[in-house]
């Protein structure tokens, strides 16, 4: 058969910037996720602690409201680093459950259906694919952690005055860093598990197990050896330490009294792993997740 002269013209129109293309992935993922009324309701519930936080901040500065409620300002929790740390940790717990619901199917579904070539046969790299998938969680979790927390920090600054804002700017950075570390860890872990386990339920169970099983094991180590070094394998404890470090509330050595029949038998000083060790372990976990993603997220897994 004859081959005709080339008359077909490829698309030569204007292109959008390369960096923005990954946003196509979260756009569809959000639509998919928020189709579930149950999830939408849960996501709304996640904002209740923030509402409580906002009310507490407001009450601190509203004498009339305190008078109506017949509450003395001293009876309210002080608005300080511990206040924000508490709510950051609380939102972190909600973020974990959101990650548990949203994270596991993100990559798993594409891998199970051999759909990766669909993405990768475009000017779209594996890195962009992973960023696109991770951004689903990063955006969702940011929306319920550091973004509203920083808004509430600004709200408190507005009510308290510019001086308070300047003096406590470090709290804002602690809110931001602690939240970002947590959501980055959640996003990486859930993506790595999602890439490794192709079934959603198993992936969710694996993520849950990864947080709780080492924590239980760590607690056993702590109790057996009268130490706190068992926390080095507990993701929850690691994050708690890092968060405390950022908010300046980290206490490394705590006394532990062993008593019998009301009498003090022994007092032991239990020592938490140093902060740098917690940071290091978190860094290693994140690096391992990235290595796993790099290994698994490929257009083709050749099995012969």
């Amino acid at each position: 058969m004859a081959v005709y002269e080339h008359t077909y013209k490829q698309y030569l129109g204007k292109l959008t910037p390369e960096w923005s293309r990954f946003l196509v992935i979260p756009r569809h993922a959000f639509r998919d996720v928020f189709k579930s009324k149950l999830f939408t309701a849960f996501y709304v519930v996640c904002f209740i602690p923030l509402l409580v936080e906002a009310i507490l901040i407001y009450l601190h500065h509203n004498v009339n409201a305190l008078a109506i409620l017949q509450v003395n300002v001293r009876e309210l929790v002080p608005i300080d680093a511990t206040f924000f740390e508490t709510f950051v940790s609380l939102q972190g717990s909600f973020a974990f459950f959101v990650a548990l619901l949203v994270g596991p199917p993100l990559v798993a579904r594409d891998l199970r259906n051999n759909a990766l070539p669909l993405y990768l046969c475009r000017p779209f790299s594996r890195t962009e694919y992973v960023i696109g998938k991770m951004s689903v969680l990063l955006i969702l979790l940011s929306g319920m952690t550091w973004v509203p927390q920083l808004l509430l920090f600004l709200f408190q600054s507005y009510l308290e005055g510019f001086r308070w804002f300047i003096d406590n700017l470090w709290i804002a950075s602690a809110i931001f860093i602690a939240s970002v570390v947590w959501i980055l860890l959640l996003a990486l872990l859930s993506q790595a598990i999602s890439a490794l386990v192709k079934w959603r339920v198993v992936a969710s169970a694996a993520l849950l197990g990864l947080f709780f099983i080492p924590s239980i094991f760590g607690e056993v180590v702590n109790n057996l050896f009268m130490t706190r070094w068992g926390n080095i394998i507990s993701l929850g404890a690691l994050i708690k330490n890092v968060t405390s470090g950022l908010f300046g509330t980290f206490v490394r050595s705590t006394g532990h009294v062993i008593g019998r029949n009301g009498r003090i038998v022994r007092e032991i000083v239990m020592t938490e792993p140093p902060l740098w060790a917690s940071w290091l372990v978190l860094f290693v976990i994140c690096a391992a997740c990235l290595a796993l993603l790099s290994w698994k997220v490929k257009a083709y897994e050749v099995v012969r």
Partner: protein, 336 residues
């Protein structure tokens, strides 16, 4: 014609028949390419120059078809050698995928999307602007006759529609090279015929279509050339009839329908190039195996001219892809 449309005034344009008339920047070039998966051979020492038109990859499972396709798309990197697609090395995805469209065998679609949304989304991944993406989506849906169905959710699509929407996503960004993995699977005869017609139209416009298929008679019907692969090696490449002609060790089988096959058998037996003559079961035809089909046809001309035997038809029996496949690859691949 604006810058982004692909409609051609085709048909009335110069023709280039020979592969040698194309420059490397117009062809898909494999230069001594090998791909090993650890110690396992994917393909070995493949050198090809693929000109525009429809090129089919044929071979049994594990022959290296998918490896060859994945190497072309840059989704796999060669262990040795170099591949260029219209002059672009396959390790430059940004430029490569402007020119290349890939229709995989995947059967996964984002949940809740309509056909239109699906194609538009991947155009956005390509970097096409939103307004233009909408326009190109319509063009692609028209090409695969899915304009109406494009508004429906893909979850409700039949297998044939899913196959066509896959094809639409591969052609939507108007590539110059299309790599199609089993594009005819699951299509009913009507849609199959329409799809083949679409391939032929695209090929006529100057596109490269690389198609892998197991349906040999369809490959035979639509392909400008075939690449036969077995155990990671290119066994044969080129036009089917050309490949068949070069298989000198396999005499050509010809069926001659005539009123006196026994007499004809006696005539042909004394020719040195005829190796076998066998009467057809209905005794109204003669199977002849010849090493030199050209000489045999010349001889038949003289038989016809003499008028003693009335010849109704002459047809080569094994001058098709199935026969070439059977001879070169054998029965091991015939079921795949």
């Amino acid at each position: 014609m604006n810058e982004s449309t692909s409609q051609s005034e085709s048909g009335q344009v110069p023709i280039r028949n020979s592969q040698s008339e194309f420059r490397n920047s117009e062809m898909i070039v494999f230069d001594d390419v090998s791909k090993f998966y650890g110690e396992i051979l994917g393909i070995n020492r493949v050198s090809l120059h693929i000109a525009p038109g429809i090129t089919s990859l044929v071979g049994p499972n594990g022959a290296g078809k998918s490896t060859l396709m994945n190497l072309m798309t840059g989704l796999l990197r060669p262990s040795r050698g170099r591949i260029t697609i219209l002059g672009i090395p396959t390790d430059q995805p940004e430029q490569l995928f402007r020119k290349l469209g890939y229709c995989t065998q995947f059967d996964s679609f984002p949940r809740g999307l309509t056909g239109e949304e699906f194609i538009r989304s991947f155009l956005l991944v390509h970097g096409v602007e939103r307004r233009k993406a909408k326009e190109l989506t319509q063009v692609a849906l028209e090409r695969v006759s899915l304009v109406e169905a494009g508004k429906r959710k893909m979850a409700a699509y039949s297998k044939g529609m899913r196959q066509r929407i896959r094809l639409a996503q591969a052609i939507a960004h108007q590539p110059e090279v299309m790599i199609l993995d089993e594009p005819l699977n699951g299509l009913d005869p009507m849609v199959r015929a329409e799809t083949i017609a679409l391939f032929r139209k695209l090929a006529a416009e100057g596109l490269h279509l690389i198609i892998s298929s197991h349906i040999l008679h369809e490959v035979d019907m639509m392909s400008d050339r075939v690449i036969l692969l077995n155990n990671g090696y290119v066994v044969a490449e080129g036009n089917v009839h050309g490949v068949r002609d070069e298989m000198q060790d396999r005499p050509m089988q010809i069926l001659i329908r005539c009123d006196k096959p026994a007499k004809l058998a006696a005539r042909v037996f004394d020719k040195d190039h005829v190796v076998e003559a066998r009467l057809h079961d209905d005794r109204l035809g003669l199977f002849v195996k010849t090493r030199d089909s050209d000489r045999f046809y010349l001889m038949l001309n003289s038989v016809v001219a003499e008028g003693e035997i009335n010849i109704e038809s002459i047809a080569p029996v094994d001058d098709d892809l199935s026969a070439v496949y059977q001879y070169l690859i054998g029965s091991e691949g015939s079921n795949s």
